[in-house]
């Protein structure tokens, strides 16, 4: 944890530390505990938390990268990256101009958006049926 605390609080010259990275990591820790104990998932909206220049980068660095990376293309790209902590996902949504429209940490087995949706499966089946007849 010492190394993480160092990453989370040490700024490069010119960067500003609000001290908000460590509380987010603690929130993630509690959520991960809840996920194991009760199966309850949680989403943290990073847009609602004040972040100084460079802090989002430090948060991402503290969370690191795990085994799974998903690139989704639905109304613009989305990046869903499992962090070094299994069950903790960093989700970034972009629009078609690659501008960020939402950034979340999801604590769950797999973010819901990755799963195929019933409506889309149904529409896909109709298409496949048409193709084969």
């Amino acid at each position: 944890m010492d190394e993480i605390a160092h990453t989370a609080t040490c700024a490069s010259p010119g960067e500003v530390v609000t001290g908000n990275v460590m509380p987010i990591l603690h929130q993630v820790r509690h959520a991960l505990h809840d996920l194991l104990e009760t199966g309850k998932s949680e989403v943290i909206d990073l847009r609602s938390i004040p972040m100084g220049p460079g802090e989002e980068g430090r948060l991402a660095e503290a969370l690191g990268k795990g085994e799974v990376e998903v690139r989704m293309s639905a109304l613009g790209p989305s990046e869903i990256i499992e962090t070094r902590y299994p069950g903790v996902w960093l989700v970034t949504h972009f629009n078609n101009d690659n501008e960020i429209i939402g950034k979340f940490i999801e604590i769950c087995a797999i973010p819901g958006l990755v799963m195929a949706q019933d409506e889309d499966i149904r529409a896909g089946l109709v298409q496949l049926n048409e193709q084969l007849t």
Partner: protein
């Protein structure tokens, strides 16, 4: 696009998958400052919601509010929200002009009487009606006529919400806000000069999702976006708490990103979402760019006594001068001015930097 379509149907017709729709709802929840867990509720509500008719009236304004909203390149979340409403009249954006434009407004009013949303930007002159007219109709007449059939009114920008810059002293046109003139309709104030685009669309999204107006503060602003001060959500707040302030725009404190309070930051008395939602697709906001907050989402921000004057902490020089001048009564102001002129001259001679305080007190 047919007005009878629900928003879910309208998006599907545009080729948006269910997954894309859910992503849109997640971003919309964030935009409405709702907990992320609300995304499925929003999805269920938007799926069934009908596209409302919106009439947008622009009065004494600079078009900055419309610019703010339309700056984003389509298809953004804001763009999609905007596409899913039926914008039936907006004299800057619509192709029709003159009689045809006015006919579109009248037709939209008749067709959706009692149900359309009226968006207003700009203040309304109450002096000579000729100060601002559209198609020969005074702003006041057009507001009253259009407000009569509206389900709710959204006052976009500080001018529509509180009078704004046209209302600044000496208010030559008798500029008034929408809520000064209309009292029998729900009015949502979305102030800012300009307001943050996602806050404008967030309010429209709230209405689309829940069919009600959001919870408002005592100045008629949605609490979700205006519930906390810039100061409370500012990433420079820890420096304020430690008493670390930038004294000029280029001193060591400014370079280290310290608090801009002494440079006149109005963050402590300003309620808006800039510090978290930020501007230009979340890139930064004025304080992050090194400039104090002007307080543009508050009433009478233009007459607040100077953008670069600290809210309450006097400078050491003022305290000392005030003591010297205490017996002189009205001469105190003159003494301050004289001292600062002298200081400015000395600084010019010695090539020292003049601070904003020196400039403002020097005349």
């Amino acid at each position: 696009m047919s007005k009878d379509l629900t928003i879910g149907e309208a998006l599907r017709q545009r080729g948006v998958s269910r997954r894309g729709f859910l992503k849109f709802c997640a971003a919309t929840a964030s935009m409405m400052a709702l907990p992320p867990g609300m995304a499925p509720v929003i999805a269920a509500a938007l799926e069934k919601a009908r596209r409302p008719s919106v009439i947008w009236l622009s009065f004494q304004e600079c078009t900055g509010c419309t610019e703010s909203l339309t700056r984003s390149h389509s298809p953004t979340v804001e763009g999609l929200i905007f596409d899913t409403i039926s914008l039936d009249y907006h004299h800057t954006l619509q192709a029709a002009a003159g009689d045809a434009a006015e006919a579109a407004r009248v037709a939209a009013m008749e067709e959706n009487y009692g149900n359309y949303i009226l968006v207003v930007d700009g203040s309304i002159p109450t002096g000579n009606p000729g100060f601002s007219t559209i198609a020969g109709i005074s702003n006041l007449d057009m507001l009253r006529e259009t407000a009569a059939g509206a389900a709710a009114i959204v006052s976009v920008g500080t001018c529509a919400a509180y009078g704004g810059i046209p209302h600044a002293n000496p208010n030559p046109t008798g500029a008034a806000s929408v809520s000064d003139l209309v009292s029998d309709k729900p009015i949502i104030n979305v102030p800012g000069c300009p307001p943050i685009p996602v806050v404008i669309t967030g309010v429209l999204a709230h209405y689309l999702t829940f069919g009600t107006i959001p919870e408002l503060d005592d100045l008629g602003r949605p609490r979700a976006h205006y519930g906390q001060s810039i100061h409370d959500r500012c990433y420079r707040r820890p420096f304020y708490d430690k008493g670390l302030f930038a004294e000029t725009f280029d001193d060591e404190g400014a370079k280290k990103g310290w608090c801009l309070y002494k440079l006149g930051c109005k963050g402590p008395t300003t309620y808006n979402a800039c510090a978290t939602t930020k501007w230009n697709e979340g890139t930064s906001f004025p304080i992050e760019s090194g400039h104090p907050c002007l307080g543009c989402s508050e009433p009478d921000f233009w007459d607040g006594g100077g953008f670069y004057k600290a809210l309450s902490t006097p400078t050491a020089d003022i305290t000392r001068t005030a003591v010297y001048a205490v017996g002189a009564g009205a001469a105190a102001g003159i003494a301050l001015g004289a001292m600062n002129r002298t200081k400015q001259k000395r600084m010019a001679k010695e090539h020292e930097k003049v601070t904003i305080d020196d400039l403002e007190k020097g005349d």
